[in-house]
Subunit: 169 residues, 2 copies
């Protein structure tokens, strides 16, 4: 019985919440704030957003280059604005809960499932929290190789909480 | 923002922990006791164990019937003893954590992934906690149709916590 540590809840607790533009991920964040944040712990919440991979760049002539450049810049701006919007919304939710928690933003870019797994592997949080399906990057990649949450639950080492929005089941 | 309830943590909280004979499921139970049990909530913990399906009964003659009957009874006894052993161990772990929690046993029989999903669907807990791979019923069915935890994470409606034993990753 000695194999089971009685001090799972460390003094310093690091939780990664993967957020996107979906209601479900905001619901997962709310669940986390209500159920995993302890008053007896220093809680570090890392909001992780993954932007779409950069579009494939193609320009064979000068005119094409100019148009492609504009489109790419517009997409990059859109991606950054979306990331800021999602993060702002997530921080608003954190502020609504009267919990003692420090919130940090982290923005990645690329294949969501790989980015999440790589970051979790690097920063070694105590828990990863995420939505089940989602309507942002979760949905974008769902049809190809199974959902992002499936993949992360299989591959990350820490406990994973998968939260479904009750209205979307 | 009004869509996100601030009262996720109800006064009465019901958590199902799927346990089997593996170290991993006991680790998942410990994680649950440390991270999901609040002092401000009435916590109802349901320990769910799923026994193997009854063996296929085959007897073509009287001698065969007698032998089969003995074997079946021996297997049933073994299954019940194992269930009691796992439950006793799980309750010991609950007792080691100084938390205010009522613990209830629930034993099912059949295909673990279906039994867990059906029970969760029926009793509607706030959270389901389970190990990732396991060496009991989780392992028995892993090779056939993916792990039990994969299946449950996809099909149950409540938040699911999947915990991996750090020594088994």
């Amino acid at each position: 019985m000695e194999a089971f540590p009685l001090n799972f809840k460390k003094k310093d607790c690091k939780i990664v919440v993967a957020v996107d533009e979906s209601e479900e991920s905001m619901y997962a964040l709310s669940w986390c704030l209500c159920n995993l944040i302890s008053q007896t712990t220093i809680n570090n919440l890392i909001l992780l957003y993954v932007k779409s991979p950069p579009p494939v760049y193609s320009s064979l002539d000068v005119a094409g280059y100019i148009i492609s450049g504009d489109v790419i810049r517009a997409l990059e701006t859109y991606g950054n604005d979306l990331a800021n919007s999602v993060m702002g919304r997530a921080e608003d939710i954190c502020g609504k809960f009267s919990t003692d928690v420090t919130v940090e933003r982290m923005v990645g870019s690329g294949d969501a499932k790989d980015v999440i797994c790589n970051i979790v592997d690097r920063i070694k949080p105590d828990t990863l929290v995420m939505g089940s399906h989602g309507y942002g990057f979760f949905k974008r990649e769902k049809g190809l190789v199974g959902s992002v949450s499936d993949h992360c639950a299989k591959h990350v080492k820490c406990p994973v909480v998968i939260v479904k929005h009750p209205g979307k089941i």
